[in-house]
């Protein structure tokens, strides 16, 4: 009896450990049934965005996309097949983004995947090896290099292009002015600076700040002391409106051009209040909260869909409409595609001509091209205190 | 004063983890009486004081003025009137001397609030150095001065029973004498009983009314201080050579005390006696 007792206890521990480990991997799928193809079933579209963590504010694009895909399914789907939109959270952490992409590509058999901003740049090699197309909601210039990564497309226009248009406008509107750039220390700022300078605008001062630094008093003082009277502002989130308010308060009134993705009504203009009057931005998409689009049929459809499919809390956010528009572009490409393979989708995406889109400004349309983007034109706008007014760009 | 003693300890046991340190200790302290708790190092003196002030968990009965102390925690016991000057004096180094003293008098019963100022004056008279250095941080005081501060602080809380743990530890003879002189005067002017745990038997017996000698966690001898006045009696009580004549003996032998390396050197007779 004594001997079995001495062996039995470690055995007890061994079985406990084994059961714990098996339980842990119960969520895994067995090797042989992981490769089911995308036959006649749903069209699987994957999306990995920051639904939590410090940059959760960007995750709203997922909500917009989900609303659009839900409506498409309600109206019979694409070519008779429903769209299954797998929305995953990566908290803007690339290791989780990588894991999500592998799961979408290898396990869920996604026809195409969507991702957001900078991190999407680093996932391109993997997706290329799996031949899974990606639509990145991002404007960084590297995405225009389609030759290097044939399976990656970007939904936003190229920031350098935005910089060029903004730069040439500011140069012509305020000749001889001293220009400055206040941006984050992330991947956006180099693209923006390159764009502005390519339009011949010399940047007297370029300041980069860390993302969660919101009190930018020292930086504004530095700009003022350097005599900057035309400022390109792209510090994101709460800092954007805080800087506008601070400058107004200390009586420093440079001409301000906001980065297009950070000129949102709800997060920048309203919080900045009167200090926002007279600022410029370049736009290619509509801001649902801008009273100018109050009775625009497409925006009304957008807000109806957001309420319908459980995202009413985000119905007035620029990024939500943006995600909604990206989903519309994807569906448009899928509808026109010769077949529902990766190559078919990409070919259709690149050959879109004059296609309408709910997120775009009225007289813009989707046009494919060698840079993998669908939009290349921006319109300079000026905020008159109530709504954006279009400026006549050169 | 044959009424119920102020502090009654009966059949008290205490343990640290698995090691039992006190075995069936019984003693009592009457109103206004000073009892010297003697015994070698490690005999359990400090543990007994910590048991009374509820710092250590115990078995057996423990009453103050008839009320059961075992139900209370350290804070409850202090508020019920148990003052405790701990080994190492418990000085609040960062606070000034005056703040240390004021902290003591804040713990006094509501009814005596009015006498706080006059009591402080009396402590200043008892220990003039505390008045001179009242602005200084208590951490800067010498060992002796900190002991006086600890005593003054405890008295200002107007306890019913004051437990004083090895006040003479690490003090120069002259300061020790001064301290014991003050101790002698406490009972009269502060109407508090005192249970004084001390190794320095000679000085303690001079100020105490009764003496209790602890050996290896049990009460070896309990008698009037005068009975232990001469040398031989004292050494016998410490070394336990004379038969154990205390209340413990009547109730049968205590459990065999564990071999405690710290105690005084054992002679054969002790081993045989203790095991009975």
């Amino acid at each position: 009896m004594r001997v079995t007792e001495r062996v039995r206890r470690p055995l007890l521990r061994a079985t406990a450990l084994l059961s714990a480990l098996t339980l842990a991997v119960s969520g895994c799928t067995l090797r042989w049934n992981a490769q089911e193809g995308t036959g006649r079933g749903d069209i699987v579209i994957g999306g990995s965005f920051a639904l939590s963590g410090p940059l959760a504010v960007t995750g709203v694009v997922g909500a917009g996309a989900q609303a659009y895909f839900s409506r498409v399914n309600a109206e019979g789907g694409v070519r008779g097949r429903k769209i299954r939109f797998q929305l995953l959270d990566d908290a803007y952490d690339t290791s989780r983004l990588t894991a999500n992409m592998r799961r979408l590509a290898e396990q869920d058999g996604a026809t195409l995947v969507m991702a957001f901003g900078g991190p999407a740049i680093s996932i391109r090699p993997y997706l290329a090896s799996r031949k899974v197309p990606m639509v990145a909601l991002a404007g960084q210039s590297p995405f225009s290099d389609v030759r290097a990564f044939p399976y990656a497309r970007a939904w936003w226009p190229d920031i350098a292009q935005e910089g060029r248009i903004a730069g040439s406008f500011l140069k012509s509107e305020f000749p001889g002015a001293k220009a400055g750039l206040l941006g984050l220390n992330n991947d956006l700022t180099p693209s923006q600076a390159a764009g502005l300078e390519s339009a011949g605008l010399t940047l007297a001062k370029t300041i980069k700040v860390a993302p969660n630094v919101v009190d930018l008093g020292p930086q504004v003082n530095e700009l003022r002391a350097a005599g900057v009277d035309v400022l390109f502002l792209s510090v994101g989130g709460a800092a954007q409106s805080a800087v506008l308010r601070l400058m107004a308060q200390i009586g420093y009134h440079p001409k301000v051009m906001l980065y297009s993705a950070q000129s949102e009504y709800t997060t920048t203009l309203k919080p900045a209040g009167p200090a926002a009057e007279g600022v410029y931005t370049t736009q290619w998409a509509k801001d649902p909260a801008d009273p100018r689009w109050a009775d625009d049929p497409m925006v009304r459809q957008f807000t109806a869909d957001m309420d319908e499919y459980g995202h009413s809390v985000d119905r007035d956010k620029l990024l939500a409409l943006n995600g909604y528009g990206a989903a519309a572009a994807v569906v448009e490409a899928l509808r026109e595609a010769p077949d529902l393979t990766a190559e078919g989708f990409l070919e259709s995406w690149d050959s879109l001509r004059g296609a309408p889109n709910p997120a775009l400004l009225p007289d813009l349309s989707l046009n494919g091209g060698p840079d993998g983007r669908l939009i290349r034109t921006y319109q300079v706008q000026r905020y008159d205190g109530r709504t954006w007014q279009r400026e006549n760009t050169p | 004063m044959t009424s119920e003693p102020l502090l009654r300890v009966d059949g008290l046991t205490a343990r640290y983890g698995s090691v039992q340190v006190l075995h069936d200790v019984s003693l009592d302290v009457r109103e206004g009486e000073m009892v010297a708790l003697l015994g070698a190092n490690g005999a359990g003196k400090t543990t007994l004081l910590r048991a009374v002030s509820r710092v250590v968990s115990t078995g057996g009965t423990l009453t103050l003025d008839g009320a059961d102390l075992t139900r209370l925690d350290t804070i409850g016991a202090a508020r019920a009137g148990i003052g405790h000057v701990p080994q190492g004096r418990g000085t609040f180094g960062e606070l000034t001397v005056e703040e240390n003293l004021r902290l003591g008098s804040m713990g006094r019963p509501g009814s005596l609030r009015g006498e706080a100022e006059s009591d402080l004056e009396r402590v200043h008279e008892m220990f003039p150095v505390l008045k001179e250095m009242r602005r200084r941080p208590a951490g800067a005081l010498s060992g002796g001065q900190q002991q006086m501060l600890a005593l003054g602080r405890a008295l200002l809380a107007r306890p019913r029973v004051l437990l004083v743990d090895e006040p003479s530890l690490g003090l120069a003879p002259r300061t020790t004498a001064e301290l014991f002189e003050a101790l002698a005067g406490i009972r009269a002017s502060w109407s508090t009983a005192v249970l004084l745990a001390e190794q320095n038997a000679r000085l303690s017996l001079r100020v105490a009314d009764r003496a209790v000698v602890l050996a290896r966690g049990g009460v070896a001898r309990s008698c009037a201080a005068s009975e232990l006045s001469d040398e031989a009696e004292l050494r016998a009580a410490y070394l336990g050579t004379t038969p154990v004549r205390t209340t413990a003996a009547k109730r049968g032998s205590a459990e065999p005390a564990p071999r405690d390396p710290g105690t005084a050197p054992r002679t054969d007779t002790d081993a045989e006696e203790a095991s009975r």
């Binding site: 220390n185 919101v214 020292p218 003082n221 | 002030s53 609040f92 902290l103 003591g104 804040m106």
Partner: protein, 293 residues
């Protein structure tokens, strides 16, 4: 030259908020020996609370004290419920508990108030005060006054009141305080309540400048840690001085130290932490003897 003075003023204004948080960190550390990583989130929660009250129509000068009191109650509750079970459990467990509260509170705030930034209408109007080019916004001045007054009140409470004496006693020698009948548990909870209150003032004062978002206090908390270390974790006055120095050093360095720039502004406070801990671990004003292990 004017820019130099302007940078110093901007640094001081920012430094006041760090000082407030550093004082809260110091009070909690002295009491429970815990580095309260969640202090930033608690301050953010108070700011959001005050914002909701103002949105609900309450005047700022009613909502602000209400938020401070609520934060004090919350601080005591956090100590009693979340911290008491792990007290005296060693630095690793205390740090882990702090990290858990940081993550939990941050997510709860994002859930209740959504993640997009909101504005906190400044109760001090939108004007600015100063001489010529050297301007300080009314919020900066108002915020500085609010935080400094609060720190003054708390310093006085610690220095001159019986409760303050008990708080300090429990912080330095809890066992001896128990022997005098001081309810140590209650004092620890009170310490956390005071930390919650001064954190609330710092958070609500910073909100108009920084704008309300769940990430509002992420940066300032790191700077407050540096300030508390510089000033001396065990000295309340030190935390205030430390905060101001860090604020000024941060704004000057990012401007005048070549190559540092805005994004490495965080290097400055941490260079300070390194230097202080190596040269004078107890900080400028702390006492070496009482540095808790």
């Amino acid at each position: 030259m004017t820019e130099f003075i302007q940078q110093i003023l901007a640094g001081l204004a920012a430094g006041v908020v760090y000082a407030g948080l550093a004082l809260a960190l110091g009070v909690v550390f002295q009491g429970t020996g815990m580095l309260n990583l969640a202090q930033g989130e608690l301050a953010t929660l108070s700011a959001f609370g005050a914002w909701s009250l103002v949105e609900a129509g309450m005047s700022f000068w009613l909502a602000f004290p209400a938020a401070v009191l609520l934060s004090a109650a919350l601080g005591a509750a956090v100590e009693r419920v979340l911290v008491r079970p792990v007290e005296g459990a060693g630095p690793m467990v205390l740090l882990a508990a702090g990290a858990a509260m940081l993550l939990g509170l941050n997510a709860l705030i994002a859930l209740v108030w959504d993640t997009d930034p909101k504005t906190f209408a400044s109760p001090f109007g939108a004007s600015s005060v100063g001489v010529g080019e050297i301007r300080l916004t009314s919020q900066q001045v108002g915020a500085a006054v609010l935080v400094l007054v609060t720190m003054g009140v708390i310093a006085a409470l610690f220095r001159f009141t019986p409760v303050g004496l008990k708080l300090r006693a429990v912080a330095t020698n809890p066992d001896s305080a128990r022997l005098l009948g001081v309810r140590t548990g209650r004092m620890l909870a009170l310490g956390w309540a005071l930390a919650g209150a001064v954190g609330a003032v710092a958070g609500t004062a910073a909100a108009p400048i920084a704008g309300l978002s769940p990430e509002m206090m992420a940066g300032p908390l790191l700077l407050a840690l540096a300030a508390a270390t510089l000033g001396g974790m065990t000295s309340r006055g030190g935390a205030v001085v430390g905060g101001l120095i860090i604020g000024v050093a941060g704004s000057l360095a990012s401007r005048y130290v070549p190559g540092l720039g805005g994004d490495l502004q965080l290097v400055v406070p941490f260079a300070v932490i390194f230097a202080v801990l190596l040269l004078r671990p107890q900080g400028l004003f702390g006492r070496a003897a009482t540095v808790r292990a």
